[in-house]
């Protein structure tokens, strides 16, 4: 099976992670001021989700964890070694798993959808797929230059 070159994967990961940093930072800044993200098509889904008890873990807004996760993924795109490949896989796996949980909570518990959260979940899913592909295709190639 042929995979994209690792350089290509790293570039796409960097781009998607940068988008993720932007979205998570927007949510974190807006919510730190006591507000909530603006739903693009109107509606109150974003208000509802932001007000939910699930929007904080141990008193910390989960968007902060999002910013940290995306920054870590962005960092992994700058290195072509096994630590970056495996680290990127682990961080994106955690982010992907948590996104599944949060989407479940939005749909079945809070009963409201926030487009920004959905966008972040989609980005995290893409990052997980890219990071998994990178690990499968190039993991263990520490001793030779991966291309």
């Amino acid at each position: 099976m042929s995979y994209p070159s690792e350089d290509t994967l790293r570039r796409v990961i960097a781009f998607v992670a940068a988008l993720g940093v932007s979205i998570a930072t927007y949510i974190a800044i807006v919510e730190s001021g006591g507000g909530s993200p603006v739903c693009l098509a109107g509606g109150t889904g974003c208000h509802t989700v932001a007000e939910s008890s699930y929007s904080h873990v141990a008193g910390v807004n989960i968007a902060i964890f999002g910013v940290i996760g995306y920054l870590l993924l962005l960092a992994t795109a700058f290195f072509a070694n096994d630590a970056a490949r495996f680290g990127g896989f682990l961080v994106s796996l955690g982010g992907f798993g948590y996104s599944i949980f949060l989407t479940y909570i939005e749909v079945f518990k809070i009963e409201a959808i926030c487009q920004w959260c959905v966008a972040s979940a989609v980005l995290m899913t893409i990052l997980f797929l890219l990071s998994a592909t990178r690990l499968i295709a190039y993991g263990g190639n520490e001793l030779q230059e991966a291309r």
Partner: protein, 234 residues
């Protein structure tokens, strides 16, 4: 370690991590779907006596708590289903009520800003109807103390009636009639909150001799921040 061994080891670790992640997500979802949220139990309301005691002797007129002639008015835009509002009611506002409101310096006006779901409107109207009998703040405070999960469906007629009774609403027939009539007012104050630029609950505004009309405060994060705002407005 050879490259092949390295790779095999890495794939084993990755598979283990993926398996662990699946287990954790499944457990989180199962725990959350089976957990019944505490609160929201019409048959076992808690805190009625404490609420009554904390508000005892403070004047109430509709949804305004405190001396009607108080120089400073603090306006709270809240949603009865909102857990953050519950936190404010239980942890941040009590010292303000016990001191600045009780001594006549400040009055607090609770206005509905319904953002959580349909039952927020039902609950908000029920609070206004309790306010029509001078028990609005008892209703709000007692509701918060017994709040269930967001949109968990607990805020039905039976729960609202239990809260009204616990809050000391005497004429339940009138309360029942009023809560239907007062629904538009809930929508009006929600629109007012949006016009003021608020995006979440609770949000606060303040008016007094030191302000230019009603000034927005957003969501002050501590009792001290409220005290400062009150001092500035007085």
């Amino acid at each position: 370690m050879s490259e092949g061994d390295r790779r095999t080891k890495m794939m084993q670790l990755a598979s283990g991590a993926a398996f662990l992640a699946i287990v954790v997500v499944v457990v989180l979802i199962v725990v959350n779907s089976s957990s019944s949220d505490s609160g929201g139990d019409a048959d076992n309301l808690e805190g009625a006596a404490e609420v009554s005691q904390s508000l005892n002797g403070i004047p109430q007129d509709e949804m305004v708590l405190g001396n009607p002639r108080a120089a400073v008015e603090l306006v709270e835009f809240g949603d009865l289903q909102c857990p953050v509002c519950k936190g404010f009611a239980e942890e941040i506002l009590p010292p303000i009520i016990e001191n600045q409101v009780r001594n006549g310096e400040v009055k607090i006006d609770f206005r509905n800003f319904t953002i959580i779901g349909p039952q927020s409107l039902d609950a908000g109207a029920a609070a206004l109807a309790a306010g029509a009998q001078g028990r609005g703040w008892n209703f709000v405070e007692l509701f918060y103390r017994n709040q269930g999960g967001e949109n968990a469906g607990y805020a039905d007629d039976a729960f609202l009636e239990a809260v009204a009774e616990g809050a000391g609403v005497e004429n339940l027939a009138k309360w029942n009639k009023d809560r239907e009539l007062l629904r538009p007012e809930v929508e009006e104050t929600s629109q007012e909150a949006q016009q003021l630029g608020f995006g979440g609950t609770p949000s606060f505004a303040i008016e007094g001799p030191g302000t230019k009309g009603l000034e927005t405060l957003g969501t002050p994060s501590s009792t001290e921040a409220f005290e400062e705002a009150i001092e500035g407005a007085g």
